[in-house]
């Protein structure tokens, strides 16, 4: 096992804490734009975690991951979304939810516990990856929360945010386990994200053009004359 300082572990733990808090922000914020900002901050936390890991494990690849994450998620995704679905996202609007926010926060807490206990049995096998016991459960929690956000929100833009935080979660978990992938693979994985944002952004624009709104929650019933 690679020896890492307890300060680096604690620092990564704090970054993981922030990552979770920003994920919670994406899930519960009422305003569309606030949700996007929380996603951007969460991506900054992901970048920070990659930097801490790069320093502690002497892994130059993780430095690349940090740079790529920052460029694609903090800079490219908002730009792409503005281009593809500008008014739908940057207008000041509130988001509908299927559940009230306190109830969804409680469900999120249960999901977080599920995430922790689901990862616990695998941790003894991961003793060669010193940060796995922090990053893996955090990442899994964010994947679960992202899925929950997609189910919870009745608004296509907010559902997109759910997908994006799922992706962030998957990255957060994986950088602790695998940190010697070829840079090209990292780039391939990261470039996916703006493309997802682009595709869904265009879809949102079309939904908006056809129905005059992006509230996909209202589209689940047939409108029969």
């Amino acid at each position: 096992m690679v020896a890492v300082s307890s300060t680096a572990l604690a620092l990564d733990g704090s970054v993981a804490g922030l990552f979770v808090v920003f994920g919670l922000g994406v899930m519960v914020s009422r305003q569309m734009l606030a949700s996007l900002y929380f996603f951007m901050w969460q991506s900054v936390a992901l970048t920070a975690s990659a930097l801490v890991l790069a320093d502690a494990l002497d892994a130059i690849n993780l430095l690349w991951v940090a740079i790529i994450t920052f460029v694609t998620k903090v800079i490219a995704v908002p730009l792409v979304l503005r281009w593809a679905a500008g008014q739908a996202i940057y207008g000041r609007r509130e988001v509908d939810q299927a559940l009230s926010i306190p109830a969804s926060v409680l469900v999120a807490a249960v999901l977080a516990l599920v995430g922790w206990f689901a990862v616990a049995p695998t941790l003894p096998f991961l003793h060669t990856a010193p940060f796995a016991h922090l990053n893996l459960p955090t990442g899994l929690i964010m994947v679960l929360w992202g899925a929950f956000t997609v189910a919870l929100r009745r608004e296509s833009v907010a559902q997109l945010m759910g997908l994006l935080i799922m992706e962030n979660g998957a990255f957060f978990g994986s950088i602790a386990i695998v940190h010697n992938l070829a840079v090209i693979a990292e780039i391939a994985a990261a470039v996916d994200v703006p493309i997802v944002a682009l595709v869904i952004g265009l879809l949102i624009r079309n939904i908006r053009r056809v129905t005059g709104s992006t509230r996909v929650g209202a589209l689940d019933r047939l409108h029969e004359r």
Partner: protein
């Protein structure tokens, strides 16, 4: 001096520190907010002038009111002074009141003052004050579980709820400073300070419309020296909470380790600097957020609660 006398003098110094600087902290907060909002604004010494002016004025008391109305300003004034005896305001080593009460006692003393102020609000028969009192208690009830979770997580992490021990636990090393549970508790406690002090986004302290007020309509009936005591007490309450926040939770350094006057004076300067940093953050938060609607406050506090729950579970599951 014998150690007992030294401790006594230091305790008095803590109380004087609070009495003297509390209006300044509030004044600096107002000034900063006005600078951020681009107003020309009032001086940082305005709170001192207000208090001085109010002490010189006559007092008018409603005939309908009872002893509660006269008693409440004294309670509101004295409780922060008790609290400062329990927390590490200037010294790192425990003074002799340190073991009289822990953080739960701090919460209790604050609650006593809040209770009397709320009763006094209803006592005069002023409708707005009664509405304000019941709203304050709505926020209070919702904040209570979060408070308890904060205390629980603090005691779980630091193995104690005595503020001096908590300070020592987190100040011990960088590794303990960067613990995830520490960070999460700090976040949750900051949200609690916003709710408890009636700052934006929970309540607007600068609001002038009674019907929209939460906590600030309770003191509307006070005049003269009672109003001065309420104002001074309110400033001290903010400063005490800020002291707990900076000295116990966020930056447990910079306190005096010896009972020497030089070290104590250096601690005064450092603590004031830390308070300035806190006030800057508070002013930025207050000016960049909008006030929440009343029925959105449960959501705000639910988020604080979940953050605390995380802080505990992170320790509980042994992840970090």
């Amino acid at each position: 001096m014998t150690p007992l006398w030294t401790h006594f003098v230091l305790n008095v110094a803590q109380v004087v520190f609070l009495l003297v600087f509390a209006p300044l902290v509030e004044g600096v907060l107002h000034r900063l907010e006005e600078i951020i909002q681009g107003k020309s604004g009032i001086s940082v010494w305005q709170t001192y002038r207000d208090i001085g002016k109010l002490f010189a004025k006559d007092e008018v008391i409603s005939e309908e009111s009872t002893w509660v109305f006269r008693f409440a300003p004294i309670v509101a004034f004295v409780m922060p002074l008790f609290v400062v005896l329990l927390i590490p305001a200037l010294t790192k080593f425990p003074l002799f009141f340190a073991f009289m009460g822990d953080m739960v006692a701090v919460g209790f003393l604050m609650a006593v003052s809040g209770f009397f102020v709320a009763l006094a609000g209803m006592d005069t028969g002023n409708v707005y004050a009664a509405v304000g009192a019941s709203r304050t208690h709505m926020v209070g009830f919702l904040a209570e579980p979060v408070f308890i979770m904060v205390f629980f997580s603090v005691s779980y992490v630091a193995n104690s709820t005595i503020p001096y021990f908590v300070n020592a636990t987190w100040g011990a090393s960088w590794a303990s400073m960067f613990q995830p549970s520490h960070l999460l508790i700090v976040l949750a406690f900051f949200l609690l300070i916003l709710a408890d002090e009636g700052r934006i986004p929970v309540d607007s302290p600068a609001g002038k419309v009674e019907i929209a007020m939460i906590g600030h309509s309770k003191g509307l009936e006070y005049s003269g020296s009672s109003a001065a005591l309420m104002k001074w007490g309110g400033a001290m309450k903010l400063m005490v909470l800020a002291l707990v926040f900076v000295n116990v939770l966020v930056t447990p350094w910079g306190l005096s380790a010896h009972a020497q006057w030089g070290a104590i004076l250096a601690a005064v300067g450092l603590v004031l600097l830390k308070l300035l940093a806190f006030v800057v953050v508070l002013a930025l938060v207050e000016t960049s957020l909008a006030k929440l609607r009343l029925f959105r406050i449960p959501e705000f506090l639910a988020v604080a609660f979940i953050i605390c729950l995380f802080a505990v579970s992170v320790r509980l599951v042994g992840i970090a």
